[in-house]
């Protein structure tokens, strides 16, 4: 089977009065690895179940490949799913678990009967199924556990059997619902690599649901951020990280969390905190309050005050090996900021008052509704402008 594109067209789903998904449209290219992320309860698992065919949308259409599958049942969509709980059949061995989707698809009703199935020509097909399972097991290094039941396997082994069960039948798409969240940290990192490798090898369209933004950023070709039942942003991981379209995206993606300070846009299109201009070139037609955001790694700390700096006190340092996190508090407010700095930088210690500014162009502005306010392209950041003026 070849990898298929997945198209969602204005898909909505509610349970009773609660609207879980509200008009989701998303196009996933064949072979693409797309991560659906969002906080728990944002509807990402519901969306995956809709694609799988385990639930029906209230409105909207779903296409897999060229086919409209909106009303097609799960078994006929030719997609495979990996569940958070793995959902292996507890009474079957790893080998039998992986055989189920193949047997159900390739053997007729009579051939599936135990024992007498052979009379109806099940033999050759079962041999073929056995060969394919061996091949899949070899690629997932499952050999030693093939004849164990799930209760006799470790979490990582169950996870791999679940992957094997999904991949043996060469589906048109993989759907993965938080497949790594039941594993411990070390194994999770390892399995990330395995899943990415698997995707590269098979080239199957993959939709991967996770609440772990780091997992999504590190694995996916494209990330779709889902919140309150709406898609806030879809894009490459670096674009979502660097250029968030919404305040919720900015705060959800990235750890430690992005720094926020309250400010306002004035009639000249400059966003200021107190008297300090942080970002210029915003649309001047709607002056009012804004949230100004700065990634921890873009924070510049200096002993001297600069043209676009905010005074802040270092409250606590957090050693992290190659770098340290400095936790600061803005002096004229009570916003807390985090700065990510190379370890061993002199002059930074708890209790000191320093001046915080951002790298050029690093400040992001968000309007009162959380929408991103972008500076018009030709206007440079405040620092650049001042540099020009002085120069």
């Amino acid at each position: 089977m070849t990898a298929a594109a997945i198209h969602l067209d204005a898909v909505s789903k509610g349970y009773g009065p609660t609207r879980v998904l509200d008009g989701i449209s998303l196009a996933i290219a064949p072979g693409e690895f797309t991560a659906l992320i969002g906080p728990s309860g944002c509807g990402k698992s519901t969306l995956l179940r809709l694609i799988a065919g385990l639930d029906r949308p209230d409105r909207g259409r779903i296409r897999i490949g060229e086919r409209d599958v909106t009303t097609v049942r799960a078994a006929d969509r030719d997609v495979a799913m990996v569940f958070q709980s793995y959902a292996l059949y507890p009474h079957l061995t790893a080998r039998q678990n992986m055989a189920v989707p193949l047997v159900m698809r390739r053997l007729g009703r009579l051939q599936r009967l135990p024992v007498v199935g052979r009379w109806f020509g099940a033999g050759p097909r079962l041999a073929e199924v056995a060969r394919e399972i061996e091949a899949a097991a070899a690629s997932l290094r499952l050999g030693p556990v093939l004849d164990r039941r799930p209760s006799q396997m470790s979490g990582g082994q169950r996870q791999r059997v679940a992957l094997g069960r999904a991949m043996v039948r060469h589906p048109r798409a993989f759907l993965m619902d938080e497949p790594l969240s039941n594993l411990d940290m070390a194994l999770r990192h390892h399995m990330r690599g395995e899943i990415v490798d698997l995707h590269r090898r098979l080239g199957t369209t993959t939709v991967y649901v996770t609440h772990d933004q780091e997992e999504a950023l590190s694995m996916a070709d494209r990330v779709a951020v889902l919140m309150h039942g709406r898609l806030l942003q879809v894009g490459r991981p670096d674009a979502v990280y660097r250029d968030p379209a919404h305040l919720d995206v900015a705060t959800f993606v990235g750890a430690p969390r992005i720094n926020l300070v309250a400010g306002s846009v004035d009639a000249d299109g400059v966003a200021r905190r107190g008297g300090t201009a942080l970002l210029a070139g915003l649309a001047a037609d709607a002056p009012g309050p804004v949230q100004l955001a700065l990634r921890p790694e873009h924070v510049v700390l200096a002993a001297e005050s600069g043209p676009a700096s905010l005074p802040a006190r270092v409250e606590r340092l957090e050693f992290q090996g190659a770098e340290i996190l400095a936790h600061l508090r803005v002096l004229d407010g009570d916003e807390r900021l985090t700065a990510r700095l190379p370890a061993g930088r002199p002059g930074i210690e708890a209790g000191r008052d320093l001046h915080v500014s951002g790298h050029d162009g690093a400040w992001l502005a968000f309007g009162p509704g959380g929408e991103r306010l972008r500076p018009s392209a030709e206007i440079l950041s405040v620092g650049d402008r001042q540099a020009l003026r002085h120069g």
Binding site: F83, S85, Y86, Y89, P90, R158
Partner: protein, 277 residues
């Protein structure tokens, strides 16, 4: 946790022992009487151990006065048929009530619970009339048909299936299993503990049932074990207690054996079902 003190353990043992003695004493007495001649059963001195062994005579009578093997086979056949059909009918119902979302599900389940409250005796007259109209009286069918659908089984399985993870059902659907295939290939193999527990209840109830066979069957060749005992007592004019007790032992033994086997499987089933990851 502290290990229990010896005094506590002794007291616990004494209480359990007393309970066991109270429950087991009638059985011991039954076995004892089945080994004694009539005169010794009615002698003034009470002794569990027979002074004169009369086992061969008593058991010989019990096996020959009525077709005892046939009675036992009847009991086994009727119980097996009832159990198989009960599971065949109850499991899909229980699955639907536990895992499918449909309008009126709660009402249906309430009706099942209501059904649990109706004893067979309350509906036996209409059942009897129906059996008579269908010319089923004095057949094996009449012993089985009224019990094909067990609301208790539906209730028990429904509770058990609810505990199966939804993801397991979803995975089966993705794998291409139809709803009925899910019931037989996924739910049933994982519902063994519930099925075994239910089998114990069902077989004990129907093996021991006297009421329904008594009113619908009048021939010895169709008799189930308790009815067979009744026929035996009638044949013996009801005064040969040694033989009667021997017949009772014979009728009780398969049930005890079955229970011990089921108990083993029950525990196996419990430990082997690694449903949760």
């Amino acid at each position: 946790m502290m290990p229990p003190s010896p005094a506590f353990r002794l007291a616990r043992l004494a209480i359990l022992g007393l309970g066991a003695a109270v429950v087991l004493y009638p059985y011991l007495w039954m076995i004892s009487a089945s080994l004694k001649p009539q005169t010794e059963i009615f002698s003034a001195s009470l002794s569990l151990w027979p002074t004169q062994w009369f086992a061969a005579e008593n058991y010989g009578k019990a096996m020959t006065r009525i077709p005892m093997l046939r009675v036992l086979a009847n009991g086994a056949g009727v119980c097996a048929a009832i159990l198989v059909f009960q599971i065949v009918f109850a499991l899909p119902c229980a699955y639907a009530l536990a895992k499918l979302r449909f309008r009126g599900r709660e009402v249906l389940f309430a009706l099942v619970l209501l059904g649990l409250l109706v004893p067979i005796h309350a509906i036996s007259i209409p059942l009897y009339a129906a059996a008579r109209d269908l010319a089923l009286l004095d057949t094996y069918a009449v012993l089985v048909v009224p019990f094909l659908l067990s609301t208790f089984a539906i209730f028990l399985f429904r509770q058990f299936i609810r505990a199966l993870p939804d993801d397991l059902i979803a995975a089966a659907r993705m794998d291409g299993l139809s709803e009925s295939a899910i019931v037989w290939r996924v739910v049933l193999p994982n519902a063994w503990p519930a099925a075994t527990a239910f089998a114990v209840f069902s077989v004990v109830a129907h093996w021991n049932d006297l009421y329904w066979p008594l009113i619908t069957v009048s021939q010895t060749r169709l008799a189930t074990p308790p009815l067979g005992l009744l026929f035996f007592r009638a044949a013996e004019a009801g005064d040969d207690y040694g033989a009667l007790m021997a017949a009772t032992v014979i009728v009780t033994l398969p049930l005890v054996a079955l229970f011990l086997m089921a108990q083993r499987r029950f525990i196996d089933g419990m430990t082997m079902t690694g449903v949760k990851g």
